[in-house]
Symmetry: C2
Subunit: 334 residues, 2 copies
Amino acid sequence: MNQERILLAHGAGGRMMGELIERVFLSRFSGAGARLGDDSATLPAAGPVAFTTDAYVVDPLFFPGGDVGRLAVCGTVNDLATAGAVAEWLSASFVLEEGLEISVLERVAESMAAAAKEAGVSIVTGDTKVVPRGAADKMFVATAGVGRLLRPRPITGAGARAGDVVLINGPVGDHGIAVLSKREGLAFESDIASDCAPLGRLAAAAVQAGDVHAMRDPTRGGLASALNDLAVQSGVCIEIDEAAIPVRDAVKSACEMLGFDVLHVANEGKMVVITAAADEEKVLQAMKAAPHGQESRVIGRVLAAPPGQVRLRTAHGTTRLVDKPAGELLPRIC
Amino acid sequence: MNQERILLAHGAGGRMMGELIERVFLSRFSGAGARLGDDSATLPAAGPVAFTTDAYVVDPLFFPGGDVGRLAVCGTVNDLATAGAVAEWLSASFVLEEGLEISVLERVAESMAAAAKEAGVSIVTGDTKVVPRGAADKMFVATAGVGRLLRPRPITGAGARAGDVVLINGPVGDHGIAVLSKREGLAFESDIASDCAPLGRLAAAAVQAGDVHAMRDPTRGGLASALNDLAVQSGVCIEIDEAAIPVRDAVKSACEMLGFDVLHVANEGKMVVITAAADEEKVLQAMKAAPHGQESRVIGRVLAAPPGQVRLRTAHGTTRLVDKPAGELLPRIC
């Protein structure tokens, strides 16, 4: 039973594919719209919606704090959350390598179902393809999501204004270091777990508490990339305080050992929230009270100039530019 | 220039990724909602929508009549069409193998843009991941689509009723044989092109012309799988006439040579339409007048029993059961 494996026939559109989908997916993704047989789901949207997609190619498939399935649900939920949208419906498409153990696929599906439940979202439609051994590495998952906008207009990365404050909901770098540790069998493997989590409720709490101008989840490329994107899109300078940015000791040590800038390391359960200064306290308290928000804090502020720049005020009182990573830090981190 | 290749850094969330996305995708997918920087698009939906997804792993990437990009757009448009929905917005996520020539990615993006234009759909959001050499075979594309329902309730596979007629918009088997020929370098390569095409307008024309009870695009698993699914979902028997099913001579010869049942061979530009007998002529004429519908014809009828069965009435007047392919006919056909 445990040794059953994915065969090419499981992707061929015939009986075996139907049986696999029924056994692995439909039994778990029994959301409102999940139906056997039809190629699409009907969503009872009542107005403008937000729409996003992401592919997940993380290696290894399972790591401390998460797996490719949890990642695929949370990542798409969080991309919608950054727009001020509450994820309601997800699609999931799978590229499977011939020979993959079906029990592995079942574990991933189980994890997706649990993450979807946690996030309050339904997985309503999907697809499965199988490629011959060697044409893919075990499993890739792509999810797309549709969400309801909390405000008539989406929150974009272009809304930050001089005078705003920058908040984050907890320590950075956990996800990247957790995946790398597991993959490479590094000593700190057991000390660090991915922060992978659905942040829809946290983002909604912030948006409902005050005048949120921009949000972004700092995934690939880390906090540095997210802030640089926001600074460019909004045409502002973002200044963050090194001392205010939470980093776990184990992550700090790992980054020092590996020569990484923790600001470049991926997160999967963090949200940068930029809000009007007048609403700082209301938004901060709302975030702290929300799931995955207990460690929220202010980490910086928005300045008028120079536009497109991110600066770090160090513990020594100096400032340095924070750039995006130019190249590759950690392949297959998400 | 032609020799530029995808590097791991192109998927790392940093500057190189932004540059690649801008150069390859944003310059081509400049649909209504395509924006640089944000992780989602906003769709001006005004009511219930249909939602679907598919992953595309076809090998080779380019084949007579199409490529992975055209396939990824048409396949998702067609899945929405089967529900009686007009595709309006697509997402696209890419898994790229390190070392892929950027010019190949550009050709695929160009083809997606052309197919999207043909289908009247906008590609509004996307994602790009890069995996190390050997972890994927060149390129996989997953698309998701959101469409407007033509009727308040979607058309499902469960709507066929005894007495209905079964129509199709042209010859079957072209796509599967075209891809296989190209991949294996078979002699009939030049004679057969994929039928890959967006069928939104054809399906809409049928739905607007008469009382359409069910539709299905016969892709993987061919006409046999599509009809079996419809028969099971609707709890009816479907009987088709061998003499009425159009098959090109070159496809017929190829199937004979390869030992394939043409009813099991994939299509990417065909739609099975099941309609009330009273509307047969109106629906047939509407299909014939629509894009990709010139060769439409009636191929069979729906009977009350035995439920879940598909029967073929042969040229000799006998009948045989038509089953789904149990296993694998053609891997990586779409």
